[in-house]
């Protein structure tokens, strides 16, 4: 029983991180009708920026997360304005421009990875943060970094929820996500909202990167696997659904940890994608998705 609790704790701590990255992917998909394949590298950039703030400028860890979010968010806005705007203006989804956007995302992923390589090199960098002694619950040791990750994830989700549901800008973002033309006719600055959506999604990915740093260290290639898992989480939860992204992340994290614990620990990554296939077979729209994907 204690072992099961341990596996669940591991699943939840990694699952919330998958969920946060998936949240960004879903947010971009909701707002821009595009699947952003460079999101793993945005997550990696955020992690490195957090490391720079925390260790080079001695900024406290929580403030480093915030600083990394701001800088990465701004970076996301620049990327969207300079590189993606022409393509997204031509349309997303199942259009030729949508396909161009996917390819552009792959290209941006390679470019960002190489820029990071030039700046920070290929070595994995430790991200030690002193959270203090772990909590002990019976035989289970619960490192405070896990608790911190879960709390930070909850704060981020809550903050995003409040932003989208309780603020005027959030309302404008949701309007743009629903229908850009009507939003424009209602007087909303659609290009600005699109940049904002992209910036917020990138900032969230940066937070995930800084949160995972103390657990897994930081390196240039860290984005790829995270992107795959976050995609699985987004699809399991229902692509475009924000609560679905979080739930999907948790399910992927727990499923892969329990699979590794009780089926086979080798090739742990299979379980996340097995779950993805099962969901696509029996509920293609995901847990929180709607069946018709054609937007108004």
């Amino acid at each position: 029983m204690e072992a099961l609790l341990g596996f669940l704790i591991f699943g939840v701590t990694i699952g919330v991180v998958y969920g946060i990255v998936a949240l960004g992917i879903s947010l971009i998909y909701t707002g821009l009708d595009i699947v952003h394949f460079a999101h793993g590298e945005i997550y990696m950039f955020g992690a490195f920026l957090g490391l720079v703030f925390a260790h080079q400028y001695n900024v406290p860890y929580w403030l480093a997360i915030l600083c990394a979010m701001i800088v990465t968010g701004l970076l996301g806005i620049v990327i969207e304005r300079v590189f993606y705007r022409r393509l997204t203006r031509a349309g997303g989804g199942y259009t030729v421009a949508g396909m161009g956007m996917i390819i552009c995302g792959f290209g941006m992923s390679v470019v960002l990875q190489n820029i990071a390589f030039l700046i920070w090199g290929a070595d994995a960098e430790p991200f030690p943060v002193n959270f203090g002694m772990p909590y002990q619950i019976g035989e289970i040791f619960l490192p405070k970094s896990y608790v911190a990750t879960a709390v930070a994830a909850l704060v981020l989700m809550g903050g995003l929820h409040v932003f989208l549901k309780k603020t005027k800008i959030g309302l404008a973002v949701r309007a743009v996500a629903q229908n850009k033309d009507i939003a424009f006719l209602m007087g909303i600055n659609v290009p600005l909202m699109i940049s904002l959506i992209f910036g917020v999604a990138c900032a969230i990915a940066a937070a995930a990167g800084v949160l995972i740093g103390p657990m897994q260290s930081v390196q240039v290639e860290m984005g790829y696997l995270m992107l795959m898992k976050a995609f699985a989480a987004a699809v399991v939860g229902g692509f475009g659904s924000l609560p679905g992204a979080i739930l999907g992340g948790l399910l992927v994290g727990i499923f892969e940890n329990l699979g590794a614990a009780y089926i086979s620990g080798s090739h742990k990554d299979i379980y996340a994608f097995l779950l993805l296939i099962l969901v696509l077979m029996f509920r293609p729209q995901g847990l929180f998705g709607v069946e018709a994907k054609v937007k108004a």
């Binding site: 657990m215 590794a260 742990k268």
Partner: protein, 402 residues
């Protein structure tokens, strides 16, 4: 007629000058090196190899000939390593190939060099299969994984216990280290593994494995993985609540600087076998440490540095001995001469803890040069890490081949 004879004299003079010029101009010994140079350490030991050959040239070269080194990065990827080797052989017409520094790259290159009949000397790859392929063209400067496993298993069984869990990453060196250690634990102590996990080469989350290992009440955990992966596993073993009483055993990549740097205090007490320890008290080792520190800014060179340095010295000795023509028509003969000269190196003593010897037969006994693993453990983690040498163990030449 007068003009004709004047022209003839001129032609003869020019021809004479050309002949003199040709015989006076030194030949060029072309060497291609393919190494993993993506990390800071990798870039710096690659640079060290280039600098050492440069120094040989500045000091007069090899019997009046200069060495032309072409250094390429294979990023520890087998396809890039093979492409580099083919480029060296077919485009640059090299006389000798150095590399790679990863078993997964060195292994396929062995077939390429064997087919093209080009000598290959390896600075750092532990997979025992490299010399078991039977190529007459391959030489290994580092210690083979079969010797490491023997020493690790003996120390573990006699001092730690026989209930061992294994975490084995998917790269060729780690797989070989893991399998060889399990095999030796069976042979020496009749001990079956308490837990075995195969993980991705760059796995990031080991916590589930560690929790299962914790519940298995093992005496030790062997982590066979590349440096960054091993560091994460070490850290997460403590996160899962596995205490210090359970000893951590590293594969040879535990000697790489990123391990203590990333793992910090989690590296304390980790023991492993390698070919060289910066804690070595011999004057030659202290001088080498100082040189690497001053020239490349490396706090404590690991065996990647020492083996690359030993390799350059062995190549230098062999090239001095080889009777080279260095003309276009003598390429095949020159390659054979270099191979035979390397095979004649016997009892070279450098930074390695024991002598390095080769011989002509294409067998592991002849081509695994260094037979003296060093047992080392960490006494301090972090960037300013410290190690201690527990033992130097000369191994029987046939060990692990039965």
């Amino acid at each position: 007629m007068k003009m004709f004879s004047r022209g003839l004299v001129s032609t003869a003079l020019i021809a004479g000058v050309l002949v003199v010029h040709t015989s006076a101009v030194a030949g060029t010994i072309r060497i291609g090196a393919t190494m993993r140079m993506i990390s800071e350490n990798g870039q710096k030991y690659g640079q060290m190899v280039a600098d050492e050959f440069d120094l040989i040239n500045k000091n007069g070269g090899i019997n009046g000939n200069t060495i032309e080194l072409s250094l390429l990065n294979d990023e520890c990827k087998s396809d890039k390593g093979v492409a580099n080797a083919n480029k060296f052989i077919h485009e640059q017409k090299v006389h000798l190939i150095i590399g790679s520094t990863c078993s997964s790259v060195s292994l396929p290159i062995v077939d390429v060099t064997a087919q093209a009949r080009v000598p290959q000397i390896i600075p750092h790859s532990t997979n025992a299969k490299i010399t078991q392929k039977g190529s007459a063209w391959v030489f290994r400067v580092p210690v083979s994984g079969r010797y490491y496993a023997g020493v690790n298993a003996k120390y573990t069984g006699e001092n730690i216990g026989t209930k061992i869990a294994y975490i084995c990453a998917a790269d060729a060196a780690s797989q070989n280290d893991c399998d060889a250690m399990q095999d030796q634990m069976r042979r020496q102590f009749n001990a079956e593994p308490a837990y075995v996990a195969q993980v991705q080469e760059k796995e990031v989350d080991f916590r589930t494995h560690m929790l299962k290992i914790k519940s298995a009440n093992v005496d030790g955990i062997m982590i066979a993985a590349l440096a960054e992966t091993m560091s994460r596993a070490l850290l997460q073993s403590y996160e899962a609540g596995i205490g210090k009483s359970v000893r951590r055993i590293g594969s040879s990549s535990a000697s790489n600087a990123p391990v203590p740097k990333i793992a910090g205090d989690a590296v304390l007490g980790v023991f492993y076998t390698a070919a060289y320890a910066a804690a070595d008290k011999r004057p030659i080792a202290q001088l080498f440490n100082q040189m690497v520190r001053d020239k490349y800014g490396i706090h404590a060179p690991d065996h990647d540095f020492s083996q690359a340095y030993d390799l350059v010295r062995i190549v230098e000795i062999a090239l001095h001995r080889a009777n080279l023509n260095l003309s276009d028509g003598s390429l095949a003969a020159d390659r054979t001469a270099i191979r035979d000269a390397i095979a004649s190196v016997d009892g070279y003593r450098g930074l390695a803890s024991g002598p390095i010897s080769f011989c002509a037969a294409p067998t592991p006994q002849c081509r695994d040069g260094n037979k003296t693993p060093v047992l080392i453990h960490y006494t301090k983690g972090g960037e300013e890490f410290e190690t201690e040498v527990l033992a130097r163990v000369p191994m029987p030449i046939n060990f692990g081949l039965e």
